[in-house]
């Protein structure tokens, strides 16, 4: 018998049916990938399972028991744990306080038994191979440690099924491997996982079976060993999809951007010459310097030495407006925190950077702004009803296009995209990359960072691999593949060379 059987689930919000007769079956001791584009109904179904929403109809059987009118507490008690993408931890409390919150061990007088809680937390961490001090403050942990803490918390109270909602978004490759190792170990012991992710390689690396939703409907399910990436994506987007769209070399112009021994926080001695119309990919483990370089180029952090010249003119260090005047624009990573101005409309969000640049003129020409909005809406294929709607009414992919338009609107010629496809779904990702090709074709120069090598290969002329703050390898498009990039970004190529030389140094 299956661990979880959800059958014929229906749910509507104010007359709109968001789940139509969907089913999901999860076996004991498996990792089940739940797949679909944003808005396909994955989150709604998970919220029904964990008791956040009530279903309109359908049955849920978990561990042999039918769950009816589930509340959040019921589902927890039954052994279902939801590890959210936005981690639900209290940053100012310690690790063990977070684990035991509301379930503290106490003595007869009601005083908490710290020693016992710390000891048991330690035991669990050792068992899982998690290297965290239970007494540490959560705010001092890395994102990956927080993620592991969330999972440990669930396991401590004997969860039988863990829902992992995009657990790897903020992790680097080494951390992802560690997390996956722990998940595999738990799987052996019979714990089941529902795994939600947009990253195909890791879905295939970790999961046993899958279920695909599209527009609130069940599309299909099966074993991952019996399918491949393209057919899964085709199921998700509802049309034939091929990831092997071939990169076509592009014509580039004169050198527009030059970095000369450029050094700043998190990177050092970067030398680079970028031609007009080129698309340059940059990758590496998190903290290896690629994102830090983009931020410094845009003036967000000061540079320490070296120079950056645009069209032969040196750009002032550490001044965002200086970089903007030189014709640069940065699409920062973490869209929600660093790009979205949530109380403003789509149009206001689009115009903001241009207004900063032209703040000498006090009055806003609203007609002209509307005109520009319509132009960019057309050019970037932004799916929006009106410029006066709130920016938060758009999907992640469309928001990202508005923020690209924000820079095009300033007349920026050099576009710095820091992780531009983070947290947006497969269809929108493809669109963003198409857009990058289109912009390069119009003579814009693009530098972007990404953790996803196949995506870099799709668009980039060159890929710089960062290790420990410097460029350790530069690959032409036809040399870009995951193994090579991984070798460089973990510095195993140099390690190999050193050992080949056999103690020459």
């Amino acid at each position: 018998m299956s661990l979880l059987e959800m059958r014929g689930i229906n749910k509507s919000f104010s007359g709109v049916q968001v789940l139509k007769d969907v089913s999901l079956t999860v076996e004991k001791g498996e990792v089940h990938a739940l797949l679909g584009e944003n808005g396909a109904g994955k989150s709604t179904l998970m919220n029904i399972l964990t008791g956040v929403y009530t279903r309109d109809s359908g049955t849920v059987v978990f561990d042999g028991q039918e769950l009816k009118d589930t509340t959040v507490r019921d589902s927890e008690k039954a052994g279902i744990a939801f590890v959210h993408q936005e981690l639900n931890l209290f940053n100012d409390l310690t690790v063990y306080e977070n684990i035991f919150l509301g379930k503290e061990y106490t003595n007869k007088l009601g005083k908490t038994d710290k020693r016992r809680m710390i000891k048991e937390a330690e035991e669990l961490f050792t068992q899982l191979g998690v290297n965290v001090d239970p007494r540490a403050r959560v705010s001092d942990l890395t994102t990956s440690q927080k993620q592991l803490l969330e999972i440990s918390k669930a396991l401590f109270f004997e969860a039988k099924l863990l829902i992992l909602d995009e657990p790897t978004t903020a992790l680097n490759n080494a951390e992802i491997e560690h997390l996956f190792g722990i998940i595999r170990g738990l799987k052996e012991k019979g714990t089941a996982f529902i795994f939600i992710s947009h990253k195909m390689p890791e879905i295939f690396a970790l999961s046993d079976s899958y279920t695909v939703f599209r527009n609130g409907e069940y599309i299909g399910s099966g074993k991952l060993s019996e399918t491949d990436t393209d057919s899964i994506i085709s199921m998700m987007v509802g049309r034939t999809y091929s990831s092997s769209e071939i990169y076509t070399p592009r014509e580039t112009g004169d050198v527009v951007l030059k970095l000369d021994h450029f050094t700043g926080p998190g990177f050092h001695d970067i030398n680079m010459e970028v031609r007009k119309g080129a698309v340059i990919g940059m990758t590496g483990l998190q903290g290896s310097g690629a994102s830090e370089l983009l931020q410094c180029m845009f003036g967000l952090t000061p540079s320490w030495s070296g120079t950056m010249t645009v069209n032969g003119e040196p750009v002032k260090h550490g001044a965002i407006r200086g970089a903007m005047r030189a014709g640069m624009g940065l699409l920062p990573s973490n869209r929600k925190e660093t790009s979205v101005v949530p109380d403003m409309t789509i149009g206001e969000n689009l115009s903001l950077a241009e207004q900063t640049l032209s703040s000498g003129k006090f009055h806003i020409n609203k007609k002209q702004e509307e005109q520009r909005y319509l132009e960019y809406k057309e050019l970037l294929n932004i799916k929006a009803v009106s410029s006066k709607n709130p920016i938060t009414s758009l999907s992640g992919g469309n928001q990202q296009k508005v923020f690209i338009a924000r820079w095009l609107n300033t007349g920026a010629q050099i576009l710095l995209f820091d992780n531009p496809t983070q947290g947006i779904d497969v269809g929108a990702k493809t669109e963003i990359y198409r857009l990058m090709e289109q912009l390069a074709g119009e003579g814009k120069t693009i530098l972007f960072t990404s953790m996803e090598v196949p995506e870099i290969r799709k668009v980039a002329d060159l890929c710089h691999v960062f290790y420990n703050g410097s460029i350790i390898g530069t690959l032409e498009n036809d040399q870009i593949d995951e193994t090579t990039v991984m070798r460089y970004s973990t510095n195993s190529i140099n390690a190999q060379q050193t050992s080949d030389r056999g103690g020459e140094s």
Partner: protein, 335 residues
């Protein structure tokens, strides 16, 4: 269904007009209607606090707060009286009020914007400082400078410009009080600045998401300094209006609790204290609502000590409505 949600949206967005109308109806019941002079009197009594509240509105839009405005009114109006007594010039007094207010606002702005001291703390400190200095100097400077008394700054009525100044403060232009006109002009100006200028958009952006604002090249500290300075300037204008109306300033009582009235007017006006949301126009209605409450209490011949209790209750009710209506709207949408 559609009408219903339209109505709740209207109430949510323009709740300040709704509140003002209800309070006005209560006023009309207690006073057997309203006359034009009575309405103009409301406008007149809203002038000083209203001008200050417009500045407070701008500060709240950036997500900050200024607790020092009441004390600032005391010190700027007090010193302005001294300047008037020395110079016997209305124009110089006005210029001094504006400049001195702007300097004090700049001080607040530097503390909050550049030193990054939380606005609540920084302006709490300057609130204490301004009031104390206003009282101290009143006792320790020459009696002739403060118009002869000992604890109140009084304009010297022997000055030739005394009458013109006082007449200006209490005069009318086509039955509209001069100071009321100043409030209206200030409101119109700041409605324009907040909705139709690049500076206004930056103020909203800083309040809504400072990180994202920074990423579009906006200097967040600079915007904060400017907004606090503008508020200082408006307090200076308010001080000028105040002494024009009263011909004196008592450092112990002038502007007492005005920071609270200004914040209440801002909140009644529908501006979110967390920044980025609301309209400056609401502040005008918020400020007038409070003046009307004063008038109602007078009409009912109640003890004025009950005044703040009623204002507090109304503030709570309005905020409760503002918080509850979106929830009701969400429920209606679900059903």
């Amino acid at each position: 269904m559609k009408n219903k949600s339209g109505l709740t949206r209207f109430l949510g967005e323009y709740s300040y007009i709704f509140v003002f109308v209800i309070i006005l109806i209560v006023y009309m019941i207690t006073n057997n209607g309203i006359t034009w002079p009575a309405a103009m009197n409301i406008l007149r009594h809203s002038a000083a606090v209203g001008i200050i509240a417009v500045g407070m509105g701008m500060i709240c839009l950036t997500g900050d707060i200024d607790l020092s405005v009441g004390s600032m009114l005391a010190i700027v109006s007090g010193f302005s009286v001294v300047i008037f007594n020395i110079t016997n010039s209305v124009l110089l007094t006005l210029l001094f009020s504006l400049a001195f207010g702007a300097v004090l606002g700049l001080l607040n702005g530097m503390l909050v914007g550049r030193l990054e001291i939380p606005a609540f703390i920084a302006t709490l400190a300057t609130m204490l400082i301004f009031r104390s200095l206003a009282q101290y100097f009143c006792q320790h400077i020459g009696k002739e400078l403060i118009g002869g008394g000992s604890s109140v700054y009084k304009m010297v009525n022997a000055n030739s410009q005394y009458k013109p100044f006082y007449n200006f403060g209490n005069g009318k232009l086509f039955t509209v009080p001069n100071v009321g006109l100043i409030l209206i002009v200030v409101t119109v100006l700041f409605v324009y600045i907040s909705t139709s200028t690049k500076f206004g958009k930056k103020v909203y952006a800083v309040g809504s998401n400072p990180k994202a604002a920074l990423m579009t090249g906006i200097s967040v500290p600079h915007i904060k300094v400017v907004v606090f300075t503008i508020t200082g300037l408006l307090v200076g204008l308010g001080s000028f209006v105040w002494i024009g109306m009263n011909a004196s300033s008592d450092p112990a009582t002038t502007g007492n609790s005005y920071e609270m009235y200004a914040i209440s007017a801002v909140v009644l006006g529908g501006i979110s204290m967390s920044g980025g949301k609301g309209r400056i126009l609401g502040v005008l209605f918020g400020a007038m609502s409070y003046t009307v409450i004063d008038k109602i209490i007078v009409a009912l011949k109640m003890d004025s000590l009950i005044n703040n209790a009623i204002k507090g209750v109304i503030l709570l009710v309005v905020i409760a409505i503002q918080i509850v209506t979106p929830k009701i709207r969400a429920k209606l949408r679900k059903a």
